[in-house]
Amino acid sequence: MRLINRRPGPPAVAALAALPFVAVALIYASASAARRAENPQDRLLPAPAQILDTAGRLLFEPDRRTGDILFWIDTAVSLQRLGLGVGIAALTGLVIGLAIGLLPLARAGLASFVEVLSLIPPLAVLPILFLLLGLGETAKVALIAIGITPFLIRDMAGRTAEIPPEQIVKAQTLGASSLAIALRVALPQVMPRLIQSVRLALGPAWLFLIAAEAIASEAGLGYRIFLVRRFLAMDVILVYVAWITLLAFLIDRLLRYASRRFFPWAETA
């Protein structure tokens, strides 16, 4: 039988899915054990048990100086920045994307401008943002928003333009105004795509968030990682990285669920 036709059964699927995770965990554990056998004080690859120990301390023990649990403060601060940045970008992308996709006037005026904007590397304008907006929250939120908005605009404009012209014409023969077509014909049809694009854009959004926090911040997941790096606190870094990964995974699943829940027609089509 050809390799392309060999399909694993359900137990094999589960085993194959778990395999890379288990392999990485085993490789880490053995590498860590090897290093610690040479030098019990090794900090670069802490033992799995020590990482769990650190995780328990980070998640539940309040800071001795302030009485707060920094882990949760970092999480809240970072999620707020990410939520604001992605939210602003999604809204901007949706509105401008719909306009470019539906209105020839907006397309003529904005399409090439957005295309040029999307070529600017967002991290290159980070110093400009810090200089203009200061080192506070605004600059970090702005970096995330600026980083992913052009992509979202282009994706939304593309999806809007994909709506069959027959539907737009049909809506006109039913007496719909331009606004009614945007709100009742185009908007619901691009929403599933917006959620999908936001899911894709969350990767870069995390990147911009951590980059901004690494450079100038007083709290946040990225800030903490880059702070404890100076003390070689690998156990803390690993816990934070795992936590960020878990958050990203949960947000992704939440968005996927929302898309299925609110736009069932898009799943069957």
């Binding site: 039913l174 105004s177 027609w265 069957t268």
Partner: protein, 256 residues
């Protein structure tokens, strides 16, 4: 009294002629079937009637008035595909026919929506789609989707119904049932209908008139040099026997 008057219509795409010297008058309530080879401009002609495109020269008058430059509620349309909104349920697709044009937002108020829903239910009952009122169009068969599309177009109460190969993607049995459906609607509403079709028997069966688009001039060195025009205008009433109302049996088999 002519209801639709097309005078000396020309249509070019980038100076490539598609239609030339098209003249046509149609009475109110007439069913005009339009046939012709692929690429002969019959769909373009329908788009001109719809006002989705503008002619290069010539005028189209409906009820003595020129078209306004964009599609509107006066002329409803059913395409071969994509005529219903995939993100609305079957019921909401009918409601949308009233809601979209009700105000600039295209959203009905609470009580108006309830009334429109009730009317939509009645419409769906009549066209036999009441049992799928809450489904999305993607769950419907092709014939049901086209029935929905026709009912949706009619719910906006247009004066002219334009059909662009509405049954082209349907299987023969479904197509026959759609013919009956369309004939019933026509008897009910007395609507003026223009229908583009590839199917000659269908054109003669449904239409009062069958008009044929074709090129009258042909240059083998430049097949695109000339556009198409109306070359035949058949009277398709009485089974296609033109301009006769036989008083005695003509012994000509008349297709049903």
């Amino acid at each position: 009294m002519s209801f639709v008057t097309v005078t000396d219509l020309f249509l070019d795409y980038d100076r490539r002629p598609i239609l030339e010297r098209v003249n046509l008058t149609a009475r109110e309530g007439e069913f005009v079937a339009i046939v012709g080879a692929s690429g002969c401009g019959k769909s373009s002609f329908l788009r001109l009637l719809l006002d989705q495109e503008r002619p290069s020269r010539g005028t189209i008058l409906v009820d003595g008035q020129p078209l306004t430059g964009e599609p509107n509620r006066q002329r409803g349309i059913v395409f071969q595909r994509y005529s219903v909104f995939p993100h609305m349920t079957v019921r909401d697709n009918i409601v949308a026919a009233e809601a979209l044009g009700a105000n600039p937002l295209g959203i009905l108020g609470r009580s108006a929506r309830r009334d429109a829903r009730a009317r939509a239910e009645a419409t769906l009952e009549r066209i036999g789609l009441a049992h799928v009122a809450g489904s999305y169009p993607s769950a419907l068969s092709g014939g049901m989707q086209q029935r929905l599309a026709i009912a949706q177009a009619l719910a906006a109460k247009p004066r002219i119904l334009l059909l662009d190969e509405p049954f082209g993607a349907l299987d023969p049995g479904t197509r026959l049932r759609m013919h009956d459906f369309l004939s019933d609607i026509r008897t009910e509403t007395g609507m003026t209908i223009f229908m583009v079709t590839h199917d000659l028997p269908e054109a003669f069966k449904l239409g009062d008139r069958v008009i044929v688009f074709d090129k009258t001039r042909w240059d083998p060195q430049a097949p695109e040099a000339y556009g198409a025009t109306i070359t035949y205008d058949f009277d398709a009433r009485h089974g296609g026997i033109p301009y006769q109302t036989p008083k005695e049996d003509p012994h000509v088999p008349v297709p049903a």
